[in-house]
């Protein structure tokens, strides 16, 4: 340890973290457990920031909507079995970026390999649909879903695509033989 009490490696990390945030135009980065309290906190933070920036009402509502849906989607998996990674289910990363043209909401979390095919098929399918198809699919899912269901991820993704009018970005990275890291990126156009 140096006389200034800080490990130089840590300073280097902090500086790189800072420049990465700036380069990638990130305004918020979070890692940890995602729960309802956090969802409310982030949603109202975003609301205040966007208000201060005098962002259009419709953009504000969309950002709020996507944040809530994405965070609650991760939070739903708190009861998933242990992944063997030391990362607790129901936790993940949450990033909010802002460029000249759009906001980008990114979430990343560990998912069981058994769910990957289903998620991939669902999102690939949604990304092929035009706005009218999305409306039809939304109504079909809403009509057919049961009241007792937790609110499957399906309806959330369809609603996000429908509201943002953008394709949903997604990717997987293998973590171990049981789980992958699932990345989801949603763009909201600024007017």
């Amino acid at each position: 340890m140096e006389e200034n009490q800080i490990d130089p490696k840590f300073t280097k990390f902090a500086y790189e973290f800072h420049t990465t945030m700036v380069d990638r135009k990130l305004m918020l980065a979070y890692e940890g457990e995602i729960n309802q309290q956090l969802t409310k906190t982030f949603a109202s933070m975003a609301k205040n920031t966007l208000e201060k920036d005098e962002e259009d009402n419709s953009v504000r509502r969309k950002v709020f909507h996507v944040m809530v849906e994405c965070l609650q989607n991760i939070g739903k998996h708190t009861d998933d079995p242990d992944s063997g990674t030391g990362i607790s289910p129901g936790s993940g990363i949450f990033l909010v970026g802002k460029t000249k043209d759009h906001y980008a909401i990114t979430t990343g979390n560990i998912v069981s390999k058994t769910r990957i095919h289903e998620i991939r098929t669902l999102l690939t399918g949604i990304n092929k649909l035009d706005p009218d198809d999305l409306k039809t699919l939304y109504k079909k899912q809403l009509r057919e879903s049961r009241l007792s269901e937790k609110g499957g991820a399906g309806l959330g993704f369809i609603d996000i695509a429908k509201k943002t009018g953008q394709k949903i970005g997604f990717d997987f990275i293998e973590v171990n033989e049981k789980v992958d890291f699932f990345l989801l990126k949603i763009r909201i156009k600024r007017n």
Partner: protein, 134 residues
């Protein structure tokens, strides 16, 4: 049973809307933001109240106001269920007035109202109001 005619009142919270079901005036209101994590734990008692209310009601006119600034997808199903219950009441000869209030700068919320109305036979009036985004 008297119990069934007790008004239902929930104060608004950051995740759940204000609920005011007044059986004396037969005016029902759901107002605010609905983003509960577990939608059924919030809407379950509301749906139960409405189903129980139907058994005791002898009134002919009911007015139901929906004024949501925002709701998450898990809230959509219980909201649809409320509309279905209202539709059943209409089918039984009650006069049910359904009003969907939306901010005049929020065409998406108007559209959501239109979508709900396609699920039911009872007319849903779409009512714009002037308001600031909160």
């Amino acid at each position: 049973m008297n119990l069934k005619k007790t008004p239902l009142f929930f104060k608004p919270t950051p995740s759940t809307p204000e609920v005011m079901f007044d059986p004396d005036r037969n005016v029902f209101e759901i107002k605010g933001r609905s983003i509960p994590e577990h939608a059924l734990s919030f809407y379950g008692p509301i749906l139960e109240w409405l189903r129980a209310y139907e058994e005791v009601t002898r009134v002919h006119t009911i007015t139901f106001h929906f004024q949501l600034d925002y709701f998450n997808t898990p809230s959509a199903k219980p909201l649809l269920e409320i509309f279905r219950i209202m539709d059943e009441w209409t089918g039984k000869g009650l006069r049910v007035e359904l009003l969907w209030h939306y901010r005049d700068d929020d065409p998406e919320m108007r559209e959501v109202g239109e979508e709900f109305s396609q699920f039911i036979k009872t007319p849903l009036q779409l009512v714009p109001f002037r308001g600031f985004a909160d």
